[in-house]
Structures are given as C-alpha cells and as structure tokens.
C-alpha cells in the first residue's frame, strides 16, 4: 500500500508542479506591468473598447468554428463510424490529417491556394486572387482553417461515442422505426452529453488558438496576449491578457461538470459480445460516398496537394532539410521524450482516477482537463513567468522546460485514454492477483500494465503527435538555440521563400504523419482482431 501511495502521489505532484506553478506565476506576474501595478491593464477594459472587441472576435471565431465543426463532424462521424459507406477507415484517416498538423501550417497551405499570389489567382486571374485573399485574411479564412482542424475532433469523438451505445437500444428502435428516427430519438440523445463535451472542447481549442488568427491577421485575445509578451516584452500585461482566456475556460468546464457529468447514460466503451449495428445506406450509399469524398477533397486533399506542388516545384527540399535538420531531430527527440513522460505519468494518473486511489482523484482529473483546455499561450507565458529565474535556470535553460510544458498541457490525453483502457479491464483481474498474495507493485507491473498495453501504445502515439505539433508552448519556452521544427517554420515564415517554407511544412507534415500511419495500422489490426 505504501508503494502505491508514494508512486501515485508523486505522479499527482508532478502534474500539480507542471500545471499549477505556471498559473500561479501568471497571477503574480499580472499584478505588475513594466514595474507598475498590473491592474492598470485591467482598467483598459473600462476605458477602451479594444479589449471588448478582441473578446467579441474571439467568441465569434470560436462560436462559428464550433458550429461548422459540429454541423459537419456529427454526420461525418455517423457515416464513417456507423454506416456501410465504402472505405470508411481510409476516409476517417484522411479527415484526421488536419488535426495532427500544426494549425498554422494549414493556414499557410490555404494561403498558397487563395492568397494574392496563390494558385487560384494564377489560374483565374488577379481579380479573383484579390477577392479570395480578402476573404482568407479575416474571419471567414480563420473559420475555414480552424473548422478543418476541429472537424476531426468532433468526428473522432462521434465515432468513439457511437461505439459506447448499447446496440440493443438501437436494435429495439430498429424493430419499429427506420434509422433516421432511431438516430434522432435514441442514439443522438444518448450520446448528447458527449457531443456537448466535444462542442465545449472545440470551442475552447478555437478560442485559445493563436497561430492561425495571427497568420491570417485576425486579432483575437490569444494574439493580444502573445503580442504583449513577444513584441512589447510586457510580461505583466501579457499575463493579465490571459485572464479572460482562463475565465472562459473555467466557466465552460464548470458548465460541463455541473450539467453534463451526471447525464451520461452509456458512455463507456462496450466490450464482449455486443455486436454493433451498422446503418445500411442502401440506395443513398453512392451519394453519401460522393459527398464525403468531395468534402475530403476540399478540406484535406486540396491543401495537401497544394503543399506537395509548392514544395516539389520550388526545388528547396534540399535546403529545407539542411536548414531544419537539427530542429527536426530535436522535435522528434523532445516529442519521444515528452510522449514517454506523458504516457508514464498519464497512466499512473489514469489508474489513480479510475480506482479513486487518492482522495484528490477528482481534483487531479479536473486539473488535467483544465490545463488541456487552457490556451497554449497561457501556459507558455505562465511557464516563462514562473521558471525564468536564475535559481531555476537548470530547468528553464534546458529541454526540461519543454517537457514540463508538454506535461502541463497534454497530460489529460494520456490520463483519459488510460482511464478508458482501465475501465475495460475487469476489476477481478487485479483482485485475483491481490488474493494470490501479490503486492501492488507486482500487480501493477505484471497484471495491470500488460493488460493495458494497447491503451498505453495508443496514448504514447497520440501524445507523441501532440508534442510534435505543439507550437504555443514551444514558441514561448524553447531553450536558446534549441528550437523545434514548428517554431523554426513559424519564425522563417516572415522572410523565407515559398519553396523553402512549403518544403519545411512538408517535412513537418511527414514527421507527424508517420506516427499517424503507424497508429492507423495499429488500430486497423486491433479492429480486425476484435472482429475475429
């Protein structure tokens, strides 16, 4: 029992240090601005309309993105997760690509297509280019890019949620009604809490995104915080500018906690003999396939094709490899280390939460979700304010600061996957080992971990992708001379040639696609194993 308490408490403390220290740092830092009391910044809310305008823009952007992601993601999730549409796994994989690429790279790709000197202009003339560029640089462009990034979040959650519905409930509906009414009256209401959760998640991720609005010159609150920090070097004002972001995150997560937590009917992955009932599309199968492929072409394949075209025709692949080789290798190494750390801590935290092993299990779960939902700029600025001191230079000046940042922002991914994995393991497995006289460490090592290996592999791969694509935290805290590839591309974008930037973006995409492909193959074989 002692080993269990010590190890799980250590995991909880690690999360608290990684996550709470930056938030506290922000609070202290926001009290001062350029040596003066920081509350002066808050007075701008009363004196000026600018902060309110930024806030309204942030809400508009996040609201529209959430709406579009839901409108497209829900039917897409149903079609790819529950119907007999052809090539559904392949299509689901393709739609996931924008999620694993840093969002600002997607903005760059759309710029290559719709910008003033973009492909659309080259084909249809400068008049068209003028209009498409005007449309891209602003709210519509930001909504387009962020919707394609967030669409897979809703789609993937829908696919997972649909698998949690007891198929007998749908079969009972099917004996008296067709699929549309069953979906409307039974399936969707049963997973509604999960859908609302995905809406909140998409809203918060869009609300906190700064790379895309910054590139497309649409000022929102995260951009304001980032600019205050990097351009004006005003830590206090930047810290104060993060308050609305923290406040909105807290409010929405509280809403989720209060209203949705106890309204979950069947949101646990089903195992065993439950065979899932697929929607037979019949005569509409061809049309549904056509529409889904068209959407995939527009949102995924078109930007990727433009990237390939620009990168391969620019003749700068060699230069890109030379200029970014170090950053790429560092990115891969940091992401591998980060994923390993996240998976280890996340699995322990997942075990802690699933078994309610410590009294603070609920607080730990809430903290990890809060940190995940918090904009990366907030965590990044918080980390600088908290760790950038001579006494903590041994952390701040080394890659350890990046790992701490990853741990703060992404631990919820690994811990939630672990909770889900552990929920599928019968409690009797560990209890039987306990009855046989095995201590906790032995049970954990010999029973719990081996039985959860699929979840652990999945958590590692997803954590790896998130660490690799991370821009917000890395941009703020990367150690001098040790930037990551997303940071290198972001900084080169201001004056690099199109050929070089597109080649770097291609390298970045390939780096994130490899684990995604591996994950896809892993899930494919896991699915086949389950079918057998």
């Amino acid at each position: 029992m002692r080993a269990k308490s010590i190890i799980l408490t250590a995991a909880a403390l690690t999360l608290m240090i990684a996550g709470l220290v930056p938030v506290l740092g922000l609070f202290v830092s926001s009290l001062f601005s350029h040596g003066r009391p920081g509350y002066l910044y808050f007075e701008r809310f009363a004196d000026s309309t600018q902060p309110w305008l930024l806030l309204a823009r942030s809400f508009t952007l996040a609201g529209l993105t959430t709406l579009i992601a839901l409108l497209l993601g829900i039917p897409l999730g149903i079609l790819l997760g529950k119907s007999n549409i052809p090539f559904r796994r392949c299509l689901a994989f393709l739609f996931t690509i924008p999620l694993v690429i840093p969002p600002y790279i997607l903005a760059v790709l759309w710029f290559y297509l719709l910008g003033r000197s973009g492909l659309a202009g080259r084909i249809f003339g400068p008049w068209v280019a003028e209009h498409t560029a005007g449309w891209l640089f602003g709210l519509p462009g930001c909504v387009l890019v962020l919707s394609s990034v967030m669409l897979p979040v809703v789609m993937l959650l829908m696919i997972v949620l649909l698998k949690t519905v007891n198929p007998r409930l749908e079969e009972a509906g099917r004996t008296v009604s067709g699929w549309p009414r069953v979906l409307r009256g039974i399936t969707i209401p049963l997973i509604l809490p999960g859908i609302l959760l995905s809406a909140i998640l998409v809203f918060l991720l869009s609300f906190g995104e700064f790379g895309v609005p910054m590139f497309l010159r649409f000022d929102v609150f995260p951009v304001e915080a980032f600019t205050r920090f990097t351009a004006f070097l005003d830590q206090g004002a930047a810290a104060a500018a993060t308050y609305p972001l923290i406040f909105v995150t807290l409010v929405l997560l509280t809403v989720e906690h209060v209203y949705l937590c106890n309204r979950t009917y069947a949101l646990r992955p089903l195992t065993g003999a439950h065979s899932h009932l697929d929607i037979e599309l019949g005569k509409t199968r061809g049309w549904a396939f056509f529409v889904v492929v068209a959407l995939c072409l527009l949102l995924v394949l078109l930007p990727i094709s433009i990237l390939l075209w620009e990168a391969l025709s620019g003749g700068a692949i060699g230069e890109a490899i030379i200029r970014a080789r170090d950053s790429l290798m560092r990115s891969l190494a940091y992401a591998a280390l980060g994923a390993t750390l996240l998976t280890t801590a996340g699995f322990l935290l997942g075990y802690l939460i699933h078994n309610r092993a410590l009294r603070i299990w609920k607080s730990i779960d809430s903290l990890s979700v809060f940190l995940f939902a918090l904009p990366s700029t907030v965590i990044g600025i918080g980390m600088v304010t908290a760790w950038n001191h001579p006494a903590t230079g041994f952390i701040y000046g080394t890659p350890a600061i990046l790992l701490l940042g990853y741990l703060a922002q992404y631990s919820a991914i690994a811990s939630r996957i672990s909770v889900s994995t552990l929920a599928q393991m019968p409690a009797g497995m560990e209890e039987a080992a306990q009855a046989a006289g095995a201590g906790w460490l032995r049970r954990f090592e010999r029973i719990v971990v081996p039985l959860s290996w699929k979840g652990i592999v999945g958590a590692w791969l997803i954590s790896f992708i998130f660490c690799l694509r991370d821009t917000g935290i890395s941009m703020m805290v990367y150690p001098p001379g040790r930037d990551t590839l997303p940071v290198r591309i972001f900084t080169l974008m201001a004056n690099g040639s199109t050929g070089l930037i597109s080649s770097l973006c291609l390298l970045m995409c390939l780096a994130t696609m490899v684990p995604l492909v591996l994950g896809g193959i892993f899930l494919y074989y896991q699915g086949r194993e389950q079918e057998i």
Partner: protein, 218 residues
C-alpha cells in the same frame, strides 16, 4: 404464418444456425429451448431482420422477408415486437416515451397514441408509472414496460429473448403468468427463447429443442 426455410447463419468460421427449418402458425406459442450458444438468439435476430441469413429464406405469410445475404424487408416493416434479454429500455425516455416511440414512427395520431398507451399500461398494471424513467423502476416493472412497448404496436408476432433470465424465481413465475394472460387477451403469435426447461414447459404450445445450431427435436 412465419416460415424458416433451410436457414444457415455463420459468424466468421463458426456456424451459429445450420439448415434451420421451422413453420409457426398464427397464435401459436413456440418456445425454442436449448443450452447457451446453440443459436437460439440468432434465430430471433434473423426473424427480426437484424441479421441476414447466409443461405435459406425467411417468409412471413407469402412474402420472402430475408434471402441469402439480404434483409429484403427491414425490421421496422415486419410488424414484430421484440423483447431483449437485457430489455433495452431507452434510459433517456419515460415509460410513456418508450411506448410512444414506435407509435410515432408509424404515424399514429396523438389521440390514438394516448388511448393505446393508457390501455397497454393498464394491461401490465403500470398505469401510475407512465412518467417514470426506466432507471426508477424495479426489475419486474422494467420487464413489464418492455413487454408493453413490444405489444403496444399490435405486432403479428412477439419475439422474446430469455426475458426472465435475470429475475428471481417468484418474479419470474409472476411474469410468466402475465405473458400467458396477455397472449390470451391479445392473441399474438409468440416465439420465445429460453434455456430454462421449466419456463419452456409452462409457456409453450410447441417446444423446439436446439443443439449446436440445429433443431434437435420439435
């Protein structure tokens, strides 16, 4: 009349139902009886249209409703009531909502829905629980809601998949007599699946014993 004509259904390499032929006359109470894994539930799912046979046909009256690899008539058009082993009551709907779902799907008017739901709930002695959700009901009450939900649509046949397996013997006895009373009153065809010999003998007018996917005795 319901007719299984040499029906076979396989899952992967395993044959769940093999060359299964059975004719059920209107108003009959047929009980399919056999050990776990002998293919009883698969027979019900094939008849309900939730699964297609690999070979053979299923007919309802003169109409072929399932053919090899194809569900010709979808489940909602077969006019069958189905009670699952785990009841599958919709947890987000009230008792009234559970009964109303199928009636709405069939375009029954509101006045008619209210009348039929009231009648059916009275028949199963749940008139005062119409506004409750399934989670607020006892095991026996849930069982009666599942029965009422299936019967409120006036199905030509009621299919029951081990509906009493999770109940204690006293409650099981009570519900068996409820089923027989409802059958007497409403006159539907009953296809009942169980592994309990006692249940089978009490309910059946015809007993079909299955073993390893075949009819061993009828």
């Amino acid at each position: 009349m319901i007719c299984f004509d040499a029906v076979t259904r396989k899952f992967g390499g395993r044959t769940a139902v093999s060359d299964f032929s059975l004719t059920i006359e209107p108003g009959e109470r047929v009980v399919i009886f056999g050990p776990s894994g002998c293919g009883k539930t698969t027979v019900l799912r094939l008849l309900a249209g939730l699964s297609a046979p690999d070979s053979g046909r299923i007919l309802m009256g003169e109409v072929v409703v399932s053919a090899p690899g194809r569900v010709i008539q979808p489940p909602e058009r077969r006019n069958l009531g189905l009670v699952f082993q785990d009841l599958a009551l919709w947890p987000h709907l009230t008792v009234r909502g559970n009964l109303e779902f199928g009636l709405k799907a069939r375009g029954v008017t509101k006045a008619e829905r209210t009348r039929r739901i009231g009648e059916m709930l009275d028949l199963v002695n749940l008139g005062d629980r119409a506004g409750s959700r399934p989670g607020e009901l006892s095991g026996g009450e849930q069982q009666r809601v599942a029965l009422a939900r299936a019967l409120v649509l006036h199905p030509q046949a009621l299919l029951m998949d081990e509906p009493l397996s999770s109940l204690d013997s006293g409650l099981s006895l009570q519900l068996r007599s409820d089923i027989l009373r409802l059958h007497r009153n409403l006159g539907f065809t009953l296809l009942y699946v169980t592994h309990s010999g006692e249940e089978a003998l009490e309910i059946a007018t015809r007993l079909v014993r299955m073993s390893a996917g075949h009819i061993a005795e009828s």
